[in-house]
Symmetry: C2
Subunit: 146 residues, 2 copies
Amino acid sequence: MVSTTSSSQSDLLLAIEDQGHRHTETRRLVAEAIEASPESFTAEEICAQLPAVGRATVYRTLKLFLSADVLCKVTLPDGAPRYAIDTGGRHHHHSICTSCGAVSEFRASTVERVLRALEREVEGEITGHRMEIYVRCGKCQSGAAN
Amino acid sequence: MVSTTSSSQSDLLLAIEDQGHRHTETRRLVAEAIEASPESFTAEEICAQLPAVGRATVYRTLKLFLSADVLCKVTLPDGAPRYAIDTGGRHHHHSICTSCGAVSEFRASTVERVLRALEREVEGEITGHRMEIYVRCGKCQSGAAN
DNA sequence: ATGTTTATCGATACAAGGTATCAAAACAGG
DNA sequence: CCTGTTTTGATACCTTGTATCGATAAACAT
Ligand SMILES: [Mn+2]
Ligand SMILES: [Mn+2]
Ligand SMILES: [Zn+2]
Ligand SMILES: [Zn+2]
């Protein structure tokens, strides 16, 4: 049996190493903080948890995770950004609980079908889109608080 | 025949007067600048066109127009906000040309149908949504420039 | 182990897009 | 014209980042 003692390498970290980026202590700390975060989080929350890590570095690292598709950035109704670990590989959208910040991914074939239908309706060639669904999640509906 | 000489009151202005806000010279200037803007514009562009009007006032006035539903705020793929005059009354979404900034409204029944379908798929009660389509518009496709 | 190269880091300044404060000015109605 | 209420501009401040840059740490090869 191959030892797996040191195998609990963060998925986040692995993803950017695969992109050719170096494995550094600072990045490990950021990845750990992210993985310990519930639901979703802000960049500043990570900064606050890691006072020894420079603010610019936190943002740089988040950006690396984003471009490796292991992290996603969502936008609340008021425009405030939040980050969440990205679990789905393929193209998808997000539903965000405006009460607790829980982010779920969904990949509705109907959505993509609508986009194709819109290709006739809107003038010009569609080059991209943005879509987010805001919800009050199950936990928040049952639980009194939040 | 009733005189219409002074009837060219800005629709923008009228809308916020209807909400009970005062008719001021500053607001008229902002409305004029908006109405003279092509396609879509940024808040800072208005500020630059009206150096005599305070920056805070420009933002305040944009906000008034937004809440009166005569202006809409869209988000480019990189997150940069732009404003455009809102012509449709009812709920709608926007397609934005990423090349020239032209904003068109669309109100696809299919989109709303998808949202209702998603109500079963996503956990929790849907409280809102956000959707934008990015295009390269007809003019930008034919015209060499842009 | 040690050097060498290059990526990464933290501190700092800066940027975009707004908002809070507050005294001064402009409205609107009588 | 008076007067109470809104609105305004200046200013400071806030949030979410990004550019710069000298110091540090990885990675790799001796
Ligand atoms: Mn995701
Ligand atoms: Mn609109
Ligand atoms: Zn919730
Ligand atoms: Zn265009």
